[in-house]
């Protein structure tokens, strides 16, 4: 993409204006997320930069919204709920999803296309319809307003991501490795745990991360299924934004951005690792 020395004036103009356009689009993507970080330290309950903040006066900044967040029983409880529901549904979705992906990627699997589209349907069906359907279902089995109900509902929503990422990893899997291991005398069990699992682990972990973030960020189904005891962070934010948006929400948002940066880093490291394992080291 570097501009050649012999480029004419027109080409140069185009080259630089193209760079400017791209920069603007990248700014559109990233600025809105970054802008709430300084705003969450605003000492005033406003959602804009005060003159003190603009002049970088320390008096314009404070941690009061973070203090409010950490002191609030409701928010603390919702953090606990969010993590426990997300972790439980991630474990369920990852276990079930990985098993299914292993089955689906076997060449002998019957009705593969049909089963695949059933398994990924929670990703396709509009959330409001899923939420309404699950609301009626979990009410009829007395699980609405319970942790188990919310966990199972989030599991269903996270499963497509696990199935897709793990089958994608397996589609590039070299089955001659398992045959080689078997011919060298390894039992099917050993082959699975020593050969197969280590190679698909990056796919499983990234599927698990997707399942985690799906549940951690989910609000529509939670609106319908969660009772007052199961309020999660997104549900709490949803209520907060609708009623009276308080700067505490910006503090929460900043913390959530930090969490997503962490997840992104883990995912990036995994990607590099799996590329290295497959001999596709980035240049």
């Amino acid at each position: 993409m570097a501009i050649p020395i012999y480029a004419g004036k027109l080409e140069r103009t185009w080259y630089y204006s193209y760079r400017v356009i791209c920069t603007l689009i990248f700014l559109f993507l990233i600025l809105p997320i970054l802008i709430i970080i300084p705003l969450s330290f605003n000492v005033q309950p406003y959602f804009t930069f005060t003159p003190e903040m603009m002049s970088l006066d320390p008096a314009g900044y404070s941690l009061r919204w973070y203090e409010e967040f950490f002191a609030s029983e409701v928010w603390m409880k919702s953090i606990k709920n969010s993590f426990s529901v997300a972790i439980a549904s991630t474990i369920l979705a990852t276990t079930l999803g990985t098993l299914a992906a292993l089955g689906l990627s076997r060449p002998e699997m019957p009705y593969r296309a049909l089963i695949m589209s059933i398994l990924i349907s929670p990703m396709i069906v509009p959330l409001i319809i899923s939420a309404a359907g699950m609301f009626f279902f979990y009410s009829s089995v007395n699980l609405a307003g319970s942790f188990l109900g919310l966990i199972l509902a989030h599991t269903a929503l996270g499963i497509p991501f696990v199935v897709i990422t793990v089958t994608a990893t397996l589609s590039g899997f070299d089955y001659s490795l398992t045959r080689a291991a078997a011919s060298l005398g390894a039992s099917p069990r050993t082959v699975f745990f020593k050969i197969m699992l280590p190679l698909v682990t990056p796919g499983v972990i990234s599927g698990a991360l997707f399942a985690f973030i799906t549940s951690f960020d989910e609000v529509v189904v939670a609106i319908f299924i969660a009772g007052p005891e199961q309020r999660t962070i997104p549900l709490q934010m949803w209520g907060g934004i609708r009623e009276q948006i308080s700067p505490t929400i910006l503090a929460v948002a900043t913390i959530l951005v930090a969490i997503s940066i962490m997840l992104l880093t883990v995912l990036e490291l995994l990607r590099r690792r799996s590329e290295k394992q497959r001999g596709l080291t980035p240049g």
Binding site: F28, L29, E108, P126, F137, I164, P234, I241
Partner: protein
């Protein structure tokens, strides 16, 4: 079977079973194994997701109220022609059913159900049920008409007869802004009550605009990411992936903060003297707000598939076109863009499918004009409690989404989708 075909000279395994049979047997075992691995998940998704979703949309045609709670009326009305008022037997049945319904405290369901079709029916039913309980003896026809003159209206009776089946098309008819009149014909509702067709149209139109804006914004940066050296593009990719991984509510909140009339953008414009204090722009709680916020949220879904397609296009093609004398613009349009069509298709369908069903963002930043069909379904689920209508609207929405999904599957194939 096996022995019939087992001839001398055919290949057999050590224990004498023909190879073909033995192979088939082991194949079957493998098949069973594969299926057993999938089975737990399949059962889970079927029971806790597919069946509930189907049930929810089935509520759009289910109609148990009149049939279950007024069985006598339904039975006696069976042979009624609908040309004149029904006879005494029907009125007697009506009194029985109303009295029973009041005693069992479920007559309200019938009242609510019939009120959807004809306003005022709720009071007709509940009021008559209260008074009918006091009637001592027949003939009931005169007395019922005296209690409420609605019972002397053939239209009311044809409504009851029409809604006496266990299935109804009335919710679906209502979701396309139509209704059945007294004569049993399907006609358009009065103009002021026509909301759903417009809303579906608006949802499709807004999803379409968001998709187009996403293509326009995603194409340049996907091209840049695909053509830069890997180390640099990986770094820039973070700018696409971070929004992708950030909570939906955080991204919606941030747009409220940016766009509201006392927000960052308006403050900035006032500070730069582009607008004055009274001229603050209304960029949120309307369609503009919904489109801006949803474009931002869905843009990564366009960039990622586009990028992965562009990554596979060798730069030599463009060079070949240029060396053959095409000017850069022609080469780009005639050679490069056609090769990215599958990426554009994948991204567009993904963005389109996701935005048709969007609920959270429009509800928070859409105000009145920026609401989509999902918000209407949520309204009927939570506020008006007209679950039948919610089911019918949901059914139509689901059908639209499934059509686009089938298209997506045909064009790209879901298993080729990449994430992250």
């Amino acid at each position: 079977m096996a022995n019939t075909y087992s001839k001398v000279g055919e290949m057999t395994t050590n224990d004498g079973v023909p190879l073909k049979v033995s192979l088939r047997r082991s194949q079957r075992k493998l098949k069973l194994w594969a299926f057993l691995l999938v089975a737990p998940l399949l059962v889970f998704i079927l029971v806790s997701f597919i069946i509930p979703v189907v049930n929810m949309t089935m509520r759009g045609v289910e109609n148990p109220q009149v049939a279950n709670i007024m069985p006598n009326v339904v039975e006696t009305l069976e042979n009624w022609q609908g040309t004149e008022l029904p006879d005494e037997a029907v009125y007697a049945a009506l009194v029985t059913d109303l009295t029973m319904g009041r005693k069992n405290k479920n007559i309200g369901k019938v009242a609510t159900r019939l009120n959807y079709e004809r306003s005022g029916m709720r009071r007709v039913i509940t009021g008559s049920a209260r008074k009918a309980a006091k009637l001592k003896e027949g003939p009931y026809k005169e007395q019922m008409i005296k209690i409420n003159k609605a019972w002397g209206d053939i239209g009311v009776w044809s409504l009851i007869k029409r809604e006496s089946g266990t299935f109804t098309s009335s919710y679906l008819i209502s979701s396309v802004d139509r209704k059945t009149n007294d004569a049993g014909e399907v006609v358009a509702k009065v103009e002021s009550k026509q909301i759903y067709v417009n809303l579906f149209g608006k949802t499709l139109l807004m999803s379409f605009s968001i998709t187009i804006i996403c293509i326009v914004l995603a194409f340049p940066i996907a091209y840049l990411l695909a053509t830069l050296p890997l180390a640099k593009s990986n770094l820039l990719m973070i700018l696409v992936l971070l929004p992708f991984w950030t909570s939906l509510l955080v991204r919606t909140t941030t747009w409220i903060v940016l766009l509201q009339s006392q927000g960052v953008i308006n403050d900035l414009l006032v500070w730069m003297h582009i607008i004055d204090e009274d001229g603050r722009l209304q960029m949120i709680y309307n369609q503009t707000g919904t489109i801006i916020a949803m474009t931002h949220i869905l843009l990564p879904f366009m960039v990622l598939p586009l990028y992965s397609v562009m990554k596979t296009i060798p730069p030599t093609y463009m060079r070949a076109a240029l060396s053959l004398g095409a000017n850069p613009v022609t080469a780009f349009i005639k050679v490069y863009i056609p090769m990215t069509v599958s990426g554009i298709g994948a991204g567009s369908l993904l963005v389109f499918i996701l935005s048709i069903g969007y609920y959270i963002t429009p509800a928070l930043v859409g105000g009145q004009s920026g609401l989509l069909i999902s918000n209407m379904i949520a309204y009927h689920m939570q506020n008006s409690l007209n679950w039948g209508l919610a089911g019918a609207l949901g059914f139509i929405l689901l059908v639209i989404v499934l059509i686009f999904y089938a298209l997506f599957n045909k064009v790209i194939g879901i298993d080729k989708m990449k994430m992250g």
